[in-house]
C-alpha cells in the first residue's frame, strides 16, 4: 500500500514537472489583462476569453493555423507515401545495401538543421520557391523522410511474409498486396509514423522562419514568435495562441492513442 502510494506520488510529480509550462500558459491565456501583471501572480485566473479573441482577430491566428495545417498535412502525406514504399522495399527485398541505406538515413537525420539551412535556402531561392507552401513542404519531406522510413521499416518487417505471399497467390500484384494486405496490417505503425511526422512539421520553427518571410504564408510557431511588436509584449495573446496550437496535437494523440500504443509497443518488441 505504501509502495503504491509512493509510486503514485512519484508519477504525479513527473507528470506535473512535464506539464508545468503547458499549465502555466493555459492559465495565463485565461487571465484578464490586469491579472497578467499582478504581483503576487494569481494562480487561478478569471477565465476570460479576451486574449483568444484578440489573438484570432488582431493577430490573424486562424491564418497561421491554416498555413500550418496545409504544410504539415501535405508534408506528412507525401512523407508517409514515399516512406511506405521505401520502407516496404527495405523490409521485403534482400537488397544488398539495405543496412547501409538505413544507417545512412539515420546519419542524415542527425545533421543539425543549421548546417543545411543555408543550402536549403539557396536551393529554394533558385527555384523561386521561398514563401510558398510547396517550398516549405519540400524541405519538411526531406527532414522527416528518414524518420518515417526508419519507423515504417520496423513495422513492415513484422508483417509475416506468408500473408503477403498468400495475397500474391490470391490474385494481387505487388502493389495491390501492399495496399490491401500489408498496409492495413501495419496500420498502427503507419499511424504512429504519420503522427510523429505531423507533430514534427507542426512544431518546426527554424526552417519555417527562414523560408516563410511573408506573413501571409507563415506557420503557427513563426506567427506566434512574431506576435511581439516593437513596444509591446502580448503575453496573453501568445499564451492563448500557444494553447490553440497545442490542442490539435493533443486531440490527434488522444484519438489515435490505442493505435499508437499498439504501434510503439510492436515496434519496441522487435527493436
Amino acid at each position: 500500500m505504501k509502495r503504491w502510494l509512493a509510486l503514485l506520488l512519484f508519477s504525479f510529480g513527473i507528470g506535473l514537472y512535464c506539464l508545468l509550462p503547458f499549465l502555466w500558459f493555459v492559465l495565463t491565456s485565461l487571465k484578464s489583462p490586469a491579472e497578467l501583471t499582478a504581483i503576487p501572480p494569481k494562480l487561478i485566473p478569471a477565465f476570460q476569453w479576451g486574449f483568444y479573441l484578440s489573438a484570432l482577430e488582431k493577430h490573424g491566428l486562424l491564418r497561421y493555423v491554416g498555413n500550418s495545417a496545409i504544410v504539415a498535412g501535405l508534408a506528412t502525406f507525401v512523407s508517409i507515401v514515399i516512406g511506405s514504399l521505401a520502407a516496404y522495399a527495405m523490409a521485403r527485398f534482400q537488397l544488398a545495401w539495405t543496412r547501409f541505406y538505413l544507417l545512412l538515413l539515420l546519419a542524415i537525420s542527425m545533421f543539425p538543421q543549421i548546417a543545411i539551412a543555408g543550402p536549403v535556402w539557396t536551393i529554394l531561392n533558385r527555384l523561386d520557391s521561398l514563401n510558398t507552401y510547396h517550398g516549405l513542404v519540400a524541405a519538411y519531406i526531406a527532414l522527416t523522410l528518414p524518420l518515417a522510413i526508419w519507423i515504417l521499416t520496423t513495422f513492415f518487417r513484422e508483417v509475416p511474409r506468408e500473408i503477403e505471399e498468400a495475397a500474391l497467390i490470391d490474385g494481387c500484384s505487388r502493389l495491390q498486396a501492399l495496399r490491401k494486405v500489408v498496409l492495413p496490417i501495419a496500420a498502427p505503425g503507419i499511424l504512429t509514423a504519420a503522427l510523429l511526422v505531423f507533430i514534427y512539421c507542426w512544431n518546426e520553427f527554424f526552417f519555417a522562419l527562414i523560408i516563410m518571410t511573408d506573413p501571409q504564408v507563415q506557420t503557427l510557431p513563426v506567427g506566434i514568435a512574431l506576435f511581439p511588436g516593437e513596444y509591446t509584449m502580448p503575453w496573453g495573446e501568445i499564451a492563448a495562441a500557444s494553447t490553440l496550437a497545442t490542442l490539435p496535437l493533443i486531440a490527434l494523440t488522444l484519438i489515435f492513442q490505442r493505435g499508437i500504443v499498439r504501434g510503439l509497443a510492436a515496434g519496441a518488441v522487435k527493436g
Binding site: I163, E165, A166, L168, I169, D170, G171, V181, I185
Partner: protein, 350 residues
Amino acid sequence: MGKHFGANEILKDISFEVGDGEFCILLGPSGCGKSTILRLIAGLEEPTRGAVRLGGERIDHLPPRDRDIAFVFQTYALYPHMSVFDNLAFALRMRGASRDEIETKVRDAARLLEIETLLERRPQALSGGQRQRVALGRAIVRQPKVFLFDEPLSNLDAALRATMRVELARLHRRLGATIVYVTHDQAEALTLGEKIVVLHQGIIQQIDSAAEIYHRPVNTRVARFVGSPQMNMLDGTVDETGSLFRCGHLQLNLSAFLGRPLVQFAGESLTLGIRAEDLEPVSPDQGWLRGEVEIIEDLGSDRFVHIQCNHFELIARAGREFALERRQTVGLNAAPGRMHFFQNERRIEP
C-alpha cells in the same frame, strides 16, 4: 528444375510429374528443399534453371496470380484484418467475381468445412483447427487447377492432426483435386499420398506409392527416413557361401530367410536392413539371434523393444502376450522375405 540461393544449391536437377487429380506428397527431412519446390510451383521463387509445366504449358514465367494455383501455408497466413468471410472471398474479389457468385461459393466452401458459424469472426478469435479450416477454405473457393500444401497440419496437436488428415483425404476424394503436399511426417505421407516423392538434400531419392516406398526403399536414406521406429541396419560382409552374414561378432545365418543364397555378393560388404515389425522377440532358446532387453517402449497398441546383441542395438516389435522385462535375454525371430539388402547405400535384390 534446379535452384540456387547464392552459392547454395538447394535443388539439384529434380524432375517429377503429378497426374490430374493425384495426391502427391513431397516427403523429406527439414532442409531437403521440399518447400522450395512448392514455392517454385507457386511462383514465389524463380527456378535457377528448368521449367514448371501445368497442363502441358510452361508457367514458370507467370506471376503467382496468373498460375491458377492455391497455396495453404504452414502458418495459415490468414489476413488478420479481415473476417473469415472476407478471407474466403478475397481471391474471388480479386478476380472480379460477382457478389452472388462470391456469396454462393463462400457459403458452399464454409458448409463443406463446417465453418459456417464462424464467417463473421476475425482470425484472432479462432482456434488452431478452425484457422486451418479457413486456410483450406480459402484454397477451395477458388477451384484452382492445383492445390499446394506446405506442412498444413504441423501446427496442430496430435489428435486434431489425425482428424484433419482423414478429412483432407476425404476432401481430396470429393473434390477430385490435384494436390502437391509437403510434409516431413511420414505417417501423414503414407496415409494421404498416392504418389510419394522422397527428397534428401535437394535430390529426389524415390518416386513411388506408399507401399513401395515402405516395403522396397531404393536406398538406405529412404529406408532410414520412412518407417517408425527406424529400420534396423547392420553393416557386414557375406561369406563365400552367400548365406552367412558377418557383422562384428555377430554371425547371421540367412539361408532360412532367402529364396536363394547371395552368391553373387560373396565376400562383399553389404548393409542388411530389417524393420522392427519383422523382428519378433521369442524365448531365448528359439530364434535367429539372441540379445538382452534394454528398453521397452510401450505405445499401448505395440511394444517396441530395444535389444542389445553383441554391441548392436536392434529394435523389435513384441506382441502383447509375450512377457518382457528389462535385462532379460530373448531370442529374435525374423520374418522370411522381409529383409532388405543395400550395397553402397543402394538397394540390391538377392
